[in-house]
Structure formats: structure tokens, C-alpha cells
Amino acid sequence: MPGTFSRSLAAIATATLMTGAAAAQDWPTGPVHVIVGFPAGSSPDTIARLIAEPLAERLGQPVVVENKPGAGGVIGVQQMLAGRAGHTFGATINGPLTTSPRLVPDVSYNVAEDIAPVALVATSPLVLAVAADAEADDLEGFLELARGGDLAYGSVGQGSGAHLTAELFANAAGIEMLHVPFQSYAEVTTSIMGREIDAGFMAPSAAMPQVEAGQMKMLGVTSTEPFPQVPDVPVMAGTAGLPEDFRAELWNAFIAPAATDPAVIDRLNTEINEILEDPQVQERLLSMGWQAAPGTTEELAARIADDTEVWGAVIDQIEAN
């Protein structure tokens, strides 16, 4: 009796949809918690708070940002998964969703199975920064130098965005550079200015103050379009022999435990996208070096999958060497 079966299936589906819709309408029934895997005052924290404030108004419930820093954001995601689905969400950078499961032993979650993407919030490219009195004035000059001698570059740690981007770049350009890991952009900056190392891929906002003071220069940006905060810095893709699709971006996103009601995730996605349309919010993000990037949950899911693959290949390469 296939007819009866499909009819009852349809009935179950309708019932589920209805309870789902009803639950989503009542949602949220209490304070909403947003777990951030980075300390107060860090850029993921500031971005989460920037969204949390208007979000609380729209939801009519307090939105509490909680900092659970550690292990490059992994602890934040783990803490989110330990919370009550439906009222606990996470704000994270790309690392814990893409590269951490490869690089960090003892990650207790599986991104595909345990985490539901909610919304992409903002993206940031990296810039290739060198000392102001460095011999190279553009990307081609830099590559020439790199082929001639052994250049050293700094990153903010093994497996960090800055490290993987530099390796992706070196690979695409066919050069080899010595990797020197540091713990913060602050250390990388002083090391470049002291001419201890030659270069570093840095967040534009981390490099800007020194560039404005004439102590560093930026040779290229890793986004496919010029970045509004540093509009004069040339795009790397397609120049100096780099492929047209060369792109490396960091991003910030909202996520939820996989058990969260899909209707709740849709609602949150809509609200966040609307918040991101506010020119004031966009301006605040840009002043911190981030570009608002509204989108669907599917687009975020695709970005996670794509980045996991791209960076996974880079990690394979590093491990093979």
C-alpha cells in the first residue's frame, strides 16, 4: 500500500513542520548565548558583540556573548556543543571549522556532523607586508628576491591563516621561503621592522598603522577584488604569474549545534543578514578590517567545504616536506 504509506509520511512531515514552525515562532524563549572561542577585545569577540546588540533588540531576548578562549577557537566550538541547542550558538573564525580538525589532535567534534552553519558575517583578506626599505616594490620584485635568496616570513603560528596563506602563495608562485612562527601579529610586525625577517601575510588592520607611518609597505592583497580598507593595494590574483583564482580569506561566522531546529537557524540567518545591511554596522566592521558578507546557510556550508579542501591540500604539502 504505497499510497497509505506516502500519505502518512506526508502527515508526519506536515506535523513536524507545524511543530517546527510553532517552536520557531516562540523562539527564543530565554536568553540566547553566543560562545566566542577568543578573548574579550579580540576581533572575533568584537564582531560577535557588534551583531549581538542589534540581535537582542530584534529577538526581544538578551543575547549574552561568552568568551571561552583557547586552542585557536576549538574550545569555543566544543563549549557551544555542550550547551542547550536552540539557545546556544557560536561565533567563530574559519580555523576551527576548516583546518583545526586536521591540525589539532583531540578535537572532539566532527564539523560535518555536529555543526549547523548559520550565517557568514564578515571576511578579511591578508596583505603581504614587508619593511618600507625592503628592496622589492611590488609582487614581481618580491618573487624575484625570493628566487634569488632565502627569504624568511613570519606567521602567527603553525597552521594559522597567515602560515597557510604564505604556503599557498609560495606554492602558487613556485618559490620557497623560511617559515618563522610567532604568537601574534604584534611580534611579526616588530620582527619585520627590525629587519629580522623579510615579510609576513598580515591582517590589513594589523599592517595599516605601520604602513601609514612609512615603516612598512604592502605588496599585494589575497582577495579577488581590491579590499575597501586598503583600496590601493593590488590584488595578487592574476599578477606576477599567480593564477587568476588565487584567493585566501579569513572569515567570521555564526554557527549552531547540529540539533538546532532548522526553522530557528533560518530565522537567525535572516536577522543577521538584515543586521549586516545596516551601513553603520558595515562601517564598524570595515574600521576593524572586516567586510560584511551576508549570505545563505548553504553558501556558508559550501565555503566551509571549499576551504577545508583548499587548506587541507596546503597542509598535505607542508606535512610531505
Binding site: 574550545i75 566544543q78 591540525l103 603560528g157 616588530t190 598603522p209
Partner: protein
């Protein structure tokens, strides 16, 4: 704009009533969180950060800075009275401050700490105003080789901090170095001694270690002897005033402590904990009667307390003039500025001179507030000792747990502090110095990271430590110190024969 124009424009900012009130609030809160064991400036500033969205950038920074240097004042209080460092920076103050309190000189110890803190801060401000440009340049002149060589010197110089037998001192330093290895290795990304705990990936929490070794261990120790403690009687203002002999001993340590603190504060990554340890070691070394240290020497309080305050002032140099925060708290303050659309960096002095100078002047005003606030409070602080232990110690444990949790919101750290406390108690029983363990823990990772980084950059050539003049200087001084120690030891062994 000359310095004087700058100072004038700064005055117009710092003397605004709103800014003054936020400064007062900041230093008051700073003192309070400094006094409470475990709860430090980091937690208070994190909590205040969302508030700063709603006030002017000047008021916000003045308030947060007030919390930061105010905590340095408060930190000494519990160190002296209860042997519980309010902050890791004041852990070293327990060594002589607590014996002073046990000798009935708690008021004088507190007075010394307050006055040294004030003098260190004010001298630090003068150093900052006069030498800001030179200090800013230090950050870029110090590469990995310089840091590694300097930290080795620090370790060698400070390993005399403990008063026990040399073998016991060495054991504690080495244990500290080992504990410092826990976590992700910066160079390779490998996990060391984390035993599958993601919470250990960033290393053992410094606050948990300091609070466990000193705070919890002290509480456990007192359970045994709680009743035998004589309760201090109420102390009048007159008993706070040090004798002439006490006063004469203060200027030297304060000046040396300020010099050390100003230097280390201006270097990103080092800072107040290290400078207070080194100041203590220096005082012990230059003292004609080093055996008094650990028994309640005024210099052992004056030096470190001036050093950590001076460091907390000059720490603003790299943050504001280079946009390079020296420690996590400075990074937090940088974040507060960025929220207000101000990007600290080399351009700040030109672009926002009133902001920079306003802050500098607010330091002076804030420290004056602190002195006025704290001197009359000494009597009140001392009366804490009159609280029966059965009330005081449970309260302390609660504050320690709160404080340790507030660092990064991890219950794991509370379990850690309990475990470390138990170990700390055993160490005290066996007369090992926990201060040396802390020293190894703080310096070890810096030595290792910078040593390996220097060798990585030099492509494995160890000559880098001798070719770079500053690094070479540190290596030579270290060698001289070791040589002196060996000569001294040889003489000692020859005498009995």
C-alpha cells in the same frame, strides 16, 4: 607640536570632569580587583569593555588604564597580609612583605608598598615622557637573539631569589621550566604534555599556577596552625609610619626597581611579573646584608613594588606608539581603542596628541588618587587580619576560584588550581621556594621560543648571539655572573680546609 604643547593639550583632556571621574572609578576598581586574590586587571577590563562603547574614547582608555595600574597597588595588600598574591606580579612581595606582617610590621610593609608603587609610577611617567621615543625604538632593536640572551641573564641573575639550599633552588627553577613546556610548541605546533586535554593546549594558566602555589597552598597550611596564629591588633595611623632607618632603605631599591621596570615594561612580551622578580634579585645582590632577605627586608618590598608599577606605565609605550601590545591586557586596551575607531600606532602621537598626552597626564592623576585612596585604607586592610580564619579562608578560596575562572571561563582551571595548591603545600612543607618555580615558568617559554627562533632565523648559526651587539652584551654579563658564582663557591670550599 612640542612636548609642552602636547602636555597642555593633554591637561585639557585629563582634567575634564567626566575623565576624572572615570579615572577615579578605574583606579578604585583596580585596587579592589588587585586586592582580591586571583581576580586581576584582565578580568575587570574584559567585563568593562562592553561598557566603553557608550563613553568617549578618552574616558574609556583612562578608566581601563586606571584598572590596570591600580591593580598593581592592590596586589601587594594580600601578599603582605596573608601571603596570598593578589596578582602574579606581586607574588614576589610575599617573600619579605609577609614576614614583616608576622613581625607586627604589616602597616609599615603596606606603607612601603604603597609609597614604592607611587614613586615607581611617577618616575615611570617621567621616563615615559622623556624617553618615549627611545623606548619605542627598543622594541624593534630587540630581536629573538636579544630576547633569548636577556632572559637567560634574567634566569641566572634571579635564581638566587630563594633563600634555601642551592640544589633546592635549582630543582624549583627546573620544575618551573618543565611546567612552562606544557602546551602547543610554537615552533613545530606539536602538543607537549597536554594528555589529550584541549584546555592545556595554550599551556598552564599563569594565574592558576600563582594562585595555587601561593594562595591555596597557604590556606591549606593555615588549616593546621589556624588557632596558633595571634590575631593582629588594630593598627593606628601612627604605626604605619616607617622609622627613619626604614625610610633610608627605600630610595635605592625604588630607583633601581623603577629603572628595571621601565625597561622591561617598554619591551613587548616581558613586563611587570619579570621586572618585579628581577628587581628582588637585584636588591638581594647589591645588599650588604643579603641574609636579611626573606626575613622581612624593606628593600624586598620597595624594589619589586616600584618595578611592577613602573613597568605597568611604560608598557603603554609600545602599545600606543607602535600599535604593538606587550601583553594580553594591553591587547585588550588596544581593542577598546579600535572599537572607538582609533588605530594606535606610530601615527597616534601626530594624529591624536591630546589622546596620548591626556592619557599620560591621567596616569599622574590616577596615581595620586591611588595614594590618597590607599594610605588611609591601610588600617582597614590590616583589620582584615582580625577576621576569624574560619570566615576568612573559605572566602579566600571562593575568590581564588572566581578569579581563576574569570581568566578564560574554564572550570578546568579551577580543578588545576586545587591540584597545584596541594602540590604547593607539599613544596612549602619540604621548604622549596614556589617563587622560583614561578620564575622558571614565566621565563622558560620565552627563552625557549626566542632561542629557537633566533637559531631558525640565523639558519642554525649560534654566532648570532655574539655577532649582535646587544645580545653579545647580555651573554658577557651572564658569563661574568656565572664566573663570579663559581669563584665564590670555590673560595667557600677552600676555607674549611
Amino acid at each position: 607640536m612640542t612636548m609642552w604643547d602636547g602636555l597642555l593639550s593633554g591637561l585639557s583632556v585629563a582634567l575634564q570632569p567626566a575623565v576624572l571621574i572615570y579615572s577615579l572609578f578605574g583606579v578604585f576598581l583596580g585596587t579592589l580587583v588587585g586586592v582580591l586574590p586571583g581576580i586581576g586587571a584582565m578580568a575587570a577590563i574584559s567585563l568593562l569593555l562592553p561598557l566603553t562603547y557608550y563613553i568617549s574614547a578618552e574616558a574609556a582608555l583612562v578608566m581601563l588604564a586606571g584598572v590596570y595600574y591600580g591593580a598593581q597597588y592592590g596586589g601587594a595588600v594580600a601578599s603582605i597580609l596573608l601571603r596570598l598574591p593578589g596578582t602574579p606580579q606581586s607574588a614576589i612581595t610575599t617573600l619579605d612583605g609577609y614576614p614583616m606582617a608576622r613581625q607586627g610590621r604589616a602597616g609599615i610593609a603596606l606603607f612601603t608598598a604603597m609609597v614604592s608603587s607611587f614613586a615607581g609610577s611617577i618616575l615611570g611617567i617621567i621616563v615615559l615622557v622623556v624617553l618615549a621615543g627611545w623606548l619605542a625604538g627598543l622594541a624593534t632593536r630587540f630581536g629573538a637573539a636579544e630576547y633569548a640572551a636577556m632572559m637567560v641573564l634574567g634566569l641566572v641573575a634571579a635564581s638566587t631569589v630563594g633563600s634555601g639550599r642551592p640544589a633546592k633552588s635549582m630543582a624549583m627553577v627546573v620544575l618551573g621550566l618543565i611546567l612552562g613546556c606544557v602546551g602547543t610548541d610554537v615552533n613545530s605546533g606539536a602538543q607537549r604534555f597536554t594528555f589529550g586535554q584541549t584546555q592545556l593546549m595554550d599551556g598552564i594558566n599563569l594565574v592558576a599556577l600563582a594562585m595555587g602555589l601561593f594562595g591555596v597552598a597557604e590556606v591549606i597550611g593555615n588549616i593546621r596552625s589556624a588557632d596558633s596564629h595571634g590575631r593582629p591588633r588594630r593598627i593606628g595611623l601612627r604605626e604605619l609610619v616607617p622609622s627613619r632607618a626604614d625610610l633610608r632603605q627605600m630610595p635605592g631599591p625604588i630607583l633601581r626597581g623603577t629603572a628595571l621596570g621601565s625597561f622591561f615594561g617598554a619591551l613587548p612580551g616581558t613586563g611587570s611579573t619579570i621586572s618585579s622578580f628581577l628587581s628582588y634579585a637585584l636588591e638581594r645582590r647589591v645588599s650588604r646584608r643579603p641574609e636579611r632577605f626573606g626575613q622581612g627586608a624593606v628593600e624586598g618590598v620597595a624594589g619589586p613594588e616600584s618595578a611592577n608599577n613602573a613597568a605597568s606605565i611604560t608598557a603603554f609605550v609600545p602599545t600606543l606608539t607602535l600599535g604593538i601590545p606587550g601583553d594580553p591586557i594591553m591587547a585588550l586596551m588596544l581593542g577598546a581603542l579600535v572599537i572607538h575607531g582609533i588605530q594606535p600606532g606610530p601615527m597616534m602621537l601626530d594624529a591624536r596628541p591630546e589622546m596620548f598626552w591626556g592619557l599620560v597626564i591621567s596616569f599622574g592623576i590616577g596615581n595620586l588618587f591611588l595614594l590618597i585612596l590607599n594610605l588611609p585604607l591601610i588600617g582597614m586592610w590590616v583589620s582584615i587580619l582580625r577576621i576569624p580564619f574560619r570566615w576568612l579562608y573559605p572566602a579566600i578560596i571562593v575568590f581564588v576560584c572566581l578569579g581563576v575562572y574569570s581568566v578564560r571561563g574554564a572550570t578546568f582551571d579551577i580543578v588545576m588550581v586545587a591540584g597545584i595548591g596541594a602540590i604547593g603545600y607539599l613544596l612549602t612543607l619540604a621548604k622549596f621556594s614556589p617563587a622560583l618555580l614561578l620564575l622558571g615558568f614565566v621565563l622558560g617559554p620565552m627563552i625557549e621560543t626566542n632561542l629557537r627562533r633566533a637559531l631558525l632565523i640565523s639558519r642554525g648559526d649560534p654566532m648570532v648571539f655574539l655577532e649582535r651587539p646587544i645580545a653579545c652584551g647580555f651573554v658577557l654579563v651572564t658569563a661574568a655572573l656565572i664566573l663570579m658564582a663559581v669563584v665564590k663557591a670555590l673560595r667557600h670550599t677552600r676555607q674549611p680546609a
